[in-house]
């Protein structure tokens, strides 16, 4: 079951012999897709650092968005209920269907929610850009490192 602190990865096992990462369906709380990282046998410290950073960033992202989406849904429901109550209406109409508010009434909530979360979003953005860039830099280092060792192995083999 997906939780606020971590995405569901445990209920999936990649095909045996697969040497690639696997990506799952969007998480129902955060809409982010979890990745199961393949750990190669000869994983270097740099590769391990990259993998751990990616996994940690995923969990951090998931926590933020799961919280964001859940809070949004909850506050939206509360807003609709409070408005309907102020009008003297129930949440359900005579046919049992859910009552909804008009676009203009909801717009008040959307503006309020966005303004309330302004600071939170600004600090999230800064952190996300920093992490994204660090991960990309590490990926580039890992790629260059791997390419270099492959080339030097080939040279060694051709010399012997």
């Amino acid at each position: 079951m997906a939780t606020m602190s971590g995405m569901v990865r445990s209920d999936f096992t990649p095909a045996a012999g697969s040497k690639h990462d696997w990506i799952g369906p969007p998480d129902w709380l955060s809409n982010l897709r979890p990745i199961l990282y393949h750990i190669p046998e000869n994983e270097s410290p740099l590769e391990r650092r990259l993998r751990c950073l990616r996994q940690e960033t995923e969990d951090w992202n998931h926590k933020f968005w799961a919280n964001q989406n859940t809070t949004f849904c909850k506050e939206k429901e509360e807003f609709i209920l409070s408005r309907l109550t102020a009008k003297g209406l129930n949440l359900r109409d005579e046919d049992g269907g859910r009552r909804t508010l008009s676009s203009e009434e909801m717009a008040v909530f959307y503006k309020d929610f966005l303004d309330k979360n302004c600071e939170k979003h600004a600090s999230y953005n800064r952190e996300w850009y920093r992490r994204n860039f660090t991960i990309t830099l590490l990926m580039a280092q890992v790629f260059l490192h791997r390419t270099w060792s492959r080339l030097s192995n080939r040279r060694r083999v051709s010399q012997t």
Binding site: F12, P14, A15, S18, H20, D21, W22, I23, G24, P25, P26, W28, S30, N31, L32, R33, I35, L36, N61, F64, W65, Q68, N69, T70, F72, C73, T100, L101, S102, S103, E104, E105, M106, A107, F109, Y110, K111, F113, L114, D115, N117, C118, H121, A122, Y124, N125, W128, Y129, N132, I135, T136, M139, A140, F143
Partner: protein
Amino acid sequence: MYKAPCNKLRGLACAALFRKLSQNVSGNQPWFRSLAQLCRSYPSDCFTFQHFSFLKRQYVTKGGTELLQQAKAKLESVSVPLEGHDDAVMKQVQELPTVRLPALPAKQDQALTTEIKVKEEAQLEAEAAQEAHKEKQWKELKVEPEDLPGVYARLSKIKLTALVVTTAAAGYAMAPVPFEPNCFLLALLGTGLSSCAANSINQYCEVPFDSNMNRTKNRPLVRGQISPLHALTFAASCGIPGVALLTVAVNPLTGFLGALNILLYTCCYTPLKRLSIANTWVGAVVGAIPPIMGWTAATGTFDAGALLLGGFLYCWQFPHFNALSWNLREDYSRGGYRMMSVTHPDLCRRVALRHSLGLMGLSALAPVLDLSTWSFPVVSLPINLYIGYLALRFYRTADRASARNLFFCSLWHLPLLLLLLITCKKSRKDQEDPSPGSTTSATPVTPT
């Protein structure tokens, strides 16, 4: 789309309902047989809300005339050209061949047609459910070479890039210089590559935000089809040759504008989307630069004509984007996008109206700057009045329908306006001809 916890509970309730139904309802009902067929073809442990949505569509009753805030439909059937708008998923459902039956008595014929329709709908629903099921599977992150062209096309927002290149071509076509095919093609190629680079970097920066919006959740980086490093490398492979091509093969001014546009889009517009509503104005400038680039590619100079062309695109952005963003307020609010439609709704509509009327003013300015003949403001008046009228309706009524109408009008308004402008372009002969009595002469008559 974000599935609230409430949806899963409804799904479980529906599963219980279905089991009850199967006990009580006779299996001869056509809708029941379709439902049974649907459930058999979709192996899953738990019925979700989607399984029962087809029933809802058959028996839905029309609501009141009041506009209600509803959950967005899963599939968006419109393709949107500008930033962030072109990734609408368009699923083409194959139509089943119609069945030709021998003539039957009217009543039987009607029942049979209904049954066939229900079967067809059930089959379509089953296909959609299977697609949805495939999406729920885990996928191996292996880059297949045959997938790359499609991935790159989506990464570079190819439809938006095509529109950008078209506006640059219009800018080139409007320049009062002889047409040079080589320069023209190089300018378009360079502009296209720069646009690809800018769009790729934008997607690289926005992965978690794109995941949370319906419109953008199928982008390549969101789905993990390529890695962030791969996307950035692609961006660099487009951007560096693109700007270099413009600088060396066209002229340095155009190269500078290309590089400036990439910077504005990636380093100003993209972060500003979550910090301030000023992002819309920056985005309008970003959209205005390509036709200016087309002009400078042809003439090598930045003058009033280039500015006017940029002005057309700048003004057009507001009715286009403000109308689009009006119906996405829920997603923007949840995703943390600071857009006028959410934070300053009155300003949003006022700005859209102001700039729609501005288009009319700019059209009148075109002959004054010798860009076009006086026929241009006349022939463009109907379409300018129409978009102005829709903007006024949007300003007054502020509802989803008027926003949608304004947005769709903007989609055909811009290409048509540019086409009319090119058609009414003042010929160079008219501009240079100093002969007296020439009513279209731009230069004053000098007595010899």
